[in-house]
Symmetry: C4
């Protein structure tokens, strides 16, 4: 293949994916790059195949440089050059493309320069599924989290000065200065406990014991704050994802806004690839499904029935018959809304008309299947 | 006993229990097998009684092979051979039966081959009580949990390269390659802190301190996610278990669906073996009980009254008299529904008719007892 | 003092307190006993004052024996001898009284026999404030907690056999048997990480890393379960404590059951010793108080006003005036019900009549004070 | 500058800030003081620039003494001398001003005396943002937290006596007394695990394993309690902050108390400095904002529109158009109320009139902008 053919193809490919966070190719490049960077530092491994390792590292770097250049060009055409270049994705792309070359050019030892290849892992960040959720929790709870951090640092400082005072004469080697005692305090308060610096005087041990117990407390506070934040965020995130889908399901279309809000709170969204088994015949079921997008295939005896957008299935499980009567699997990329037995019952208690609709449809199907 | 008698009896026993997850016999076999496998590796213990250990190991293996074969035959008769063989229970049974023999046949050292006996502990999995609940939490929260794992790995990679760069010249022995630094990073970020690899340069310690504090954060996030998932799952699980039982209790039969949903949310299911003390006379009580299945015995002065399905007792505790008037214990395997004082009061505020029924029945009993 | 005077006095004192869990005397005896038992094992400390230590230990033991005998006699008179003797408190008292004497009689070295004095700390158990709450959480959540424990043990077993297999040839000293590897696994999975047994082969370290990350997961599950249980229990416990008190406050007497249930859910009970400052003048306030039992003293300019059972104060903070106008302190042992600003507002939105009553009373007081 | 000019200026400055918790100057002084105190103990660093370090330390101390004196004078003039002197802030100020001088006067080695400078970090405490919230959680949950602490101590005592008994003969050096075993127990139960004291007998290791698993339990309980407390406190704190602001926004003025309580529960307060970007054009939005105080600037094509107190913006995101149409940034110190999409929908379901108002205003703006 001549360069004249490969380059345009690659450019087209990268352009097409400029809007998406990560392509499979980029994941492979990141994994290969970081693995090779790691092997570079293992003397025996590097001595075995130095050329391969160097070649792969260069290939990865070339890919990232290329990707960055193509994205920049693509974005400039759309008039969003600076929007991209200054966005977090743009900065990460720039670092991935420029860090190693700049280090090599500045005369650094190649083995050291390639270590910067570890920054390529940052390219994975935007692709992390629940990241937005995590970030929101950290932002909303930043106040209390910061308080705990300040308390943590205060305990560290007070404890290390106390310990320095108590241990410096007995262990001048390890507790010879406040920074050394600070190292001990962090290692202890996080309950890491390397054991390289350990108090040996009775009073020093009493202080250390109090630091350890405070460590449990800091842990607990931290976790408690995050748990609280997550509970709120999970409820919120699920509502957002489900709301849009609910309105597209004809079954819920006639409901009033109050009922829709109720329904949205209890439904769970589920995205499935094609040919995935949803229900396995003869297993116990405790939820029903609505097809929000895509298509599923019901494997009835002798024939296969396709259900498209807006259809529902598995409702028998909620109407008293726990054993699944037929296997169901997806035939396309499908988005389902899942309604649990528990929520179904609570919902029915408040909206009896919903129950009647599901009941009528279930009876109609049963007649049809016989 | 001749083989002609033992084998059919065993076959019948295993067949009868093919549907259940674990028999007591299987638990004993697993415990014995794993214990013997452990002793096999302790030189002094093995030297004392090599024949006993070998014999017991073989017996356990024989039991598992036998159990697997019988189950396969039993399932084939029911036309569910492949359903069983490919289910997780079937795969675990197959591993338990085949792993050690295959290892022995492949010419492995017997002492090493028997180590595979540890896989027998997997047979305990389906019998774990809250497992289904645990699995659902992990599935529902898989998104955020995965995010935290990715963040964990990213911190590990970035920190280990930084630490390798900072420490490699001072400690070529322990920080001589990125994989070695990765080991340090995992040990530190999980706050395990063996102390076999410890940074000693000032900058290396600052990086390490940041890793430890991140470790607390990762811990906190992880726990927060799981706590949130559990809160939802516990509510759900209890509702499911209770719902079916509530409808069987005549006391609640006349309630509308909204009230039943309310009641179901506050009742707790309790399964008890026979001859278990439920209420001890003269202790303080703060809940009443409904008998959903089985039978209980009230130990009144001079006589014993049996209460069967649908009856309730302990209601005095909710009507102002905290001291239990009589001991109550189960006489069969019994399923109870427990109604706490708190929930009783909240319930009564919304459904005053329930209170009247309980009150009337309590008065009737008091008259009767005098 | 002759023995004839002391003994009856002591007997009367212990009898009087037989119903209560712990007297101050018992706390002192436990603290002294355990401290002396500890000193007994410190050679230099014991050599300094062996007679004092022995004498104090004997005195503590004598107290516990005496207390147990008096309680037994007291209970027998009330016809509850066996109820007490078999209750947990009775068993703990018996252990405290008999363990050391029996050990001494059985010919054990006195220094070893006195170690059993540590069992005296068990006498503190019934006096722990939130214990009942803790126990209920553990009982209600026992299912999932047990599951996590089983999973923990399974990971420990599988990991230790894998590690034994991978490390036994390289480190026969520390990984020479499965029990030794089990020790490593527990130390690692709990993230304790002593560092006395550490894998050094690459594959062994990969297994260890997975064990550590599982450790975080086990931690997280455990905590998540307990957090969920606690949330429910705290709400419940507060409701129980508050309910009884609410009905005694005339202010709430005219409310219907639904409103009372609402009020009970938002009030918090607070028990205070005499002469405790509740409100400090000129500080910011965000709650009001109801006197459920006891008496408080309002420090108005020039005179002191006493408020008894059923009165309320601090209501200005909820009606727009955040600065406290007067100091208030208890004059007897007092039980207060605290109503937070947040809950007050939510409550008023649903029960506007409550707001009017508080408003009217506040205006009346203002007129009175001018 | 002569002293005659500097002193009055400084006095005025400190007086003006006497009411506030911390000035930037004080933060700088604390940071400098603690850093110098730390450097004082590092021999090489101190040898490089002893005069600078001493001078800076003295300057910091002088600042704190001066600040304390000025505050005392300021408070005496307001007649609140004792209120301030005995308040926690006053005590911390006094310690910061007097601890080091008193230590120096009492003849302590200067290097040791200056260590007390670490107490200056206490001055940061009142400025910690979420501290009040943290303290309330600790107070409200003090009962269960104390129980866990008592259980922690009981396990520590029982385990250390058991371990002392099991290990004293094998390791007289490390397990030679109960206090030594207590040190081991605390290090183990907090899962710190230094590894300086490790049991080696089989039974000792079994006890240690149980202690470690209990450690997980203690952790879990602790965290669970704190998480529960935090969930309640966060909801409460947000309500308090938001309530006052909501009533000032004309948009909500006509709502009834029930609706206001509903709205308050879902709004989040956000305080922003001037010139902060709130909305970035072309990003996805999922919340709208109300200006509670301050002013924001909408960057429309060709002109800038200022929105003052009571205005709202970003409402398009809630009415179906997710892409933000214009950038918005603050022009003054601004307090915003944030309404999330999720909460908006839930709110609209219950208060349809709110939706209409927002809808009408949005349409009016659209017309205007065209």
């Amino acid at each position: 293949m001549s360069k004249r053919l490969v380059l345009p193809a690659l450019t087209a490919f990268v352009s097409a994916t400029a809007g998406r966070n990560m392509t499979t190719a980029a994941y492979v490049a990141v994994a290969t790059g970081v693995a090779m960077m790691t092997l570079l530092t293992v003397q025996p491994a590097y001595d075995t195949a130095p050329h391969w390792i160097n070649a792969l590292l260069s290939a990865c770097l070339a890919y990232f440089v290329f990707e960055w250049v193509v994205r920049l060009r693509h974005m400039r055409r759309q008039g969003k050059l600076w929007f991209y270049a200054l966005s977090s994705a743009g900065v990460v792309d720039a670092i991935g493309a420029l860090a190693v070359p700049l280090a090599l050019l500045s005369g650094l030892d190649p083995k050291t320069a390639w270590l910067l290849g570890v920054l390529w892992v940052l390219k994975v960040v935007p692709g992390i599924p629940g990241l937005r959720q995590l970030r929101r929790v950290l932002v909303v709870e930043s106040g209390p989290l910061l308080s705990v951090l300040v308390i943590f640092l205060m305990v560290v400082f007070l404890a290390s000065v106390a310990e320095y005072f108590l241990e410096r004469d007995v262990q001048p080697q390890t507790f010879g200065s406040v920074p050394a005692a600070l190292w001990w305090a962090v290692v202890t308060l996080t309950t890491t406990g390397y054991g390289d610096v350990v108090p040996i005087t009775p009073l020093g041990r009493v202080v250390a014991a109090m630091v350890m117990i405070s460590g449990l407390g800091v842990f607990g506070l931290w976790t408690g704050i995050l748990a609280t934040g997550f509970a709120a965020e999970t409820r919120r995130d699920n509502f957002l994802k489900t709301w849009e889908t609910v309105s597209k399901v004809p079954f819920f279309a006639h409901l009033g806004p109050a009922a829709i809000a109720d329904v949205t709170q209890v439904l769970r969204t589920m995205d499935l690839p094609p040919r995935t088994m949803i229900i396995r015949k003869d297993t116990n079921g405790d939820c029903m499904y609505f097809v929000a997008a895509g298509e599923v295939e019901v494997d009835l005896p002798g024939r296969k029935v396709k259900l498209g957008e807006g259809a529902f299935f598995g409702e028998m499980a909620l109407l008293g018959n726990a054993k699944r009567g037929a296997s169901v699997s997806t035939s396309k990329v499908t988005r389902l809304l899942v309604l649990d037995l528990v929520d179904f019952r609570l919902l029915m208690a408040r909206h009896p008309d919903l129950a009647e609709t599901i009941d009528a449809e279930a009876k109609r199907r049963e007649r049809e299947n016989q």
